[in-house]
């Protein structure tokens, strides 16, 4: 049934609609595509220049050589900087950072899950209040949040006074690995809570009821019904915590005092005092590869909707 000519009753406004032949529709589709491209072009061009190009330059740098004065020489393409990745020192840094990131992610998961679940079973008003209360730290300045812990953990500081009062003696947690973990968990916990909450909230509660009806206890219900159904949220939250933790730079610096070298600081040093751009670039490429793998894995899981 094709559209025939339509004319309104009013003689002044005679609108005619062209016949919707395949040719016409194809032309219209092309015009729409052109419009779409036109709209996307500014952002597209901007990102190509100011994101894709820098990305590419870093990758190229990783194959370059370092001149004696700390500059870049592109004349001899080599894999030297990648070979350095096999060195003991470098591997230590990499494993340490990986371990820290995994630890942070696990702790965030363990802390966030009950919290997110609780959010789904309370009343709507309580839930909204809780959401806002979770968002506030998220919106607060990152530096402030880290610095607050520095204050809290300093020797002779508040935490120390408290533990002294209850007889545990002075605590000097600052500049330890524990401090860094606390700082990272504190910084990224909202990133774990929100996707988890979104995912758990979607679970059909009748499924949980059904499980209970079939004589499953709480633990079994959790293990076999709730947990699998909340997997998209678990994965999303884990990636959102793992990737920044791996490349963390500010938190280890403020709370760890740079005592233990982690990947983030290591990369920064290469571009700062050590002036070994190719090596820093290869380290960054490693970080980027991990990040891309995690992202692709996530999207493969079909987890586009959080």
């Amino acid at each position: 049934m094709s559209v025939s000519e339509i004319a309104t009753g009013d003689a002044d406004e005679q609108h005619t609609v062209a016949a919707a032949t395949p040719a016409f529709e194809a032309a219209a589709a092309r015009a729409a595509a052109r419009r779409g491209l036109f709209m996307a072009l500014p952002a597209y061009v901007y990102l190509v220049i100011f994101f894709a190009a820098p990305f590419a330059i870093v990758v190229i740098y990783s194959f370059a050589t370092r001149t004696r004065t700390g500059g870049i020489s592109l004349s001899g393409w080599n894999l030297d900087s990648y070979q350095r990745l096999g060195e003991q020192i470098v591997r230590d840094v990499l494993w340490r950072s990986l371990g820290l990131a995994i630890l942070t992610t696990l702790i965030c998961l363990l802390v966030a899950y009950p919290f997110a679940y609780y959010m789904t079973i309370v009343s709507t008003t309580a839930r909204n209040v809780m959401l806002v209360m979770v968002m506030i730290p998220f919106w607060t300045n990152f530096l402030v949040r880290n610095y607050a812990w520095r204050l809290l953990l300093s020797s002779g500081g508040p935490l120390s006074s408290v533990t002294e009062a209850i007889g545990l003696g002075e605590t000097d947690l600052l500049f330890t690995k524990t401090a860094v973990v606390i700082g990272l968990v504190y910084s990224f916990l909202p990133f774990m809570i929100l996707p988890l909450y979104a995912s758990i909230e979607r679970i059909d509660h009748s499924l949980i009821e059904a499980s209970r009806d079939l004589y499953a206890n709480g633990a079994q219900t959790f293990r076999r019904v709730v947990l699998p159904l909340s997997m998209p949220g678990v994965i999303a939250g884990s990636i959102l915590v793992f990737v920044p933790s791996l490349g963390a730079y500010v938190t280890p610096d403020i709370l760890g005092g740079g005592k233990e070298v982690l990947l983030g600081s290591y990369i920064v040093t290469q571009f700062g005092t050590a002036r070994n751009f190719p090596f820093g670039a290869s380290l960054s490429v490693v970080l980027m590869v991990v990040m891309l793998t995690a992202t692709v894995a996530y999207f493969r899981q079909g987890g586009r909707n959080l």
């Binding site: 609108h15 729409a32 595509a33 419009r35 779409g36 491209l37 709209m39 996307a40 500014p42 952002a43 597209y44 901007y46 990102l47 100011f50 994101f51 190009a53 820098p54 990305f55 330059i57 740098y61 009950p114 919290f115 609780y118 806002v132 209360m133 979770v134 506030i136 730290p137 919106w139 300045n141 990152f142 530096l143 402030v144 610095y147 520095r150 204050l151 809290l152 002779g156 500081g157 508040p158 120390s160 504190y186 916990l189 990636i239 990737v243 920044p244 490349g247 963390a248 730079y249 500010v250 403020i254 983030g264 990369i267 920064v268 571009f271 820093g280 670039a281 960054s284 980027m288 990040m291």
Partner: protein, 288 residues
């Protein structure tokens, strides 16, 4: 579980509360209470470099927000409403700045601008320097994606039949956008803008790598202060930054309320009849 939630909340807010309390402490040793005083706030106010950095931060944030809102909204509209060649690539490209660790982005921009400055120097003989421009350009680069995600979420939840209805009623594309689409995505655009503003004001690492002499943003300056040695003045600076965040949060909540009233409009369109149609139509036509 309620207890657990309470503990988590305490975990969230205790450090900040303590920070605020200690910013009024008179003891020079950070972390020990020494009587109430406003000295640190006075010191903050009188520190020129500090107040300078606030100005720089605000300038960068303002420009970056406006630019990224425009570009982000355009890209969201393009991705949600049109199909064009290179759409997948564009989509993927937009997601990268969200996932990338800021260290990586920071060095990317550092390297890019270093090379760029060299190229411009050798080609045109002009020697540019890093500064507000480079910071702003970098901020726009990562803010576009965030604005785009927020606006897209809003767009996909929007009833596109309203746009079709408008065009059926002889509205031009521009009129449709202005009177139908835009008012509905406005909460998303505002939310995205606030997000961009916050991210720009918050940013430490990327700004550190792209800033130059005379142009440091507030977080970068505070970060350098912290590394040099912790003084009580930092407490007062942090509290001020925290209060600024609260203002942004209040704005965000205001936008949220806009969002909940805005979504009443699509639901005014009766869905019931239209959802019944396909079933009937399918049977009549007898196609698969």
């Amino acid at each position: 579980m309620g207890v657990h939630a309470g503990v988590v909340f305490a975990f969230f807010y205790a450090p900040i509360a303590i920070l605020i309390i200690f910013s009024f402490s008179g003891d020079r040793i950070v972390g020990q209470w020494g009587g109430f005083t406003l000295d640190w706030y006075r010191e903050f106010w009188n520190n020129d470099q500090l107040t300078n950095s606030i100005t720089v931060s605000l300038q960068v944030a303002l420009i970056a927000t406006v630019a990224s809102v425009v570009l982000g909204t355009l890209s969201a509209l393009a991705l949600e409403r049109f199909r064009f060649r290179g759409r997948r690539v564009f989509d993927a490209l937009l997601y990268l700045p969200i996932i990338i660790p800021d260290v990586t982005m920071g060095i990317m921009m550092l390297v890019f601008f270093a090379e760029g400055i060299d190229v411009v120097d050798s080609l045109l003989g002009i020697s540019l320097a890093k500064g507000i421009t480079t910071i702003t350009l970098s901020h726009i680069a990562f803010c576009i994606s965030f604005v785009s995600v927020v606006v897209r979420a809003r767009l996909s939840g929007m009833d596109s039949r309203l746009e079709e209805a408008a065009m059926d009623l002889y509205a031009t594309r521009w009129q449709t956008f202005r009177y139908v689409t835009f008012p509905q995505i406005l909460p998303g655009v505002a939310g995205g803008g606030l997000l961009a503003l916050t991210l720009s004001l918050d940013d430490v690492v990327i700004s550190q790598f792209t800033s130059g002499p005379g142009a440091t943003t507030l977080p970068v300056y505070v970060f350098s202060l912290i590394r040099k040695g912790v003084t009580p003045m930092i407490n007062s600076v942090s509290v001020v930054m925290f209060l600024a965040s609260l203002v942004l949060i209040a704005a965000m909540l205001g936008v949220d309320r806009l969002r909940s009233t805005g979504s009443n409009v699509p639901s005014a369109v009766p869905r019931g009849d239209l959802s019944a149609e396909p079933a009937v139509g399918g049977h009549e036509r007898g196609d698969t």
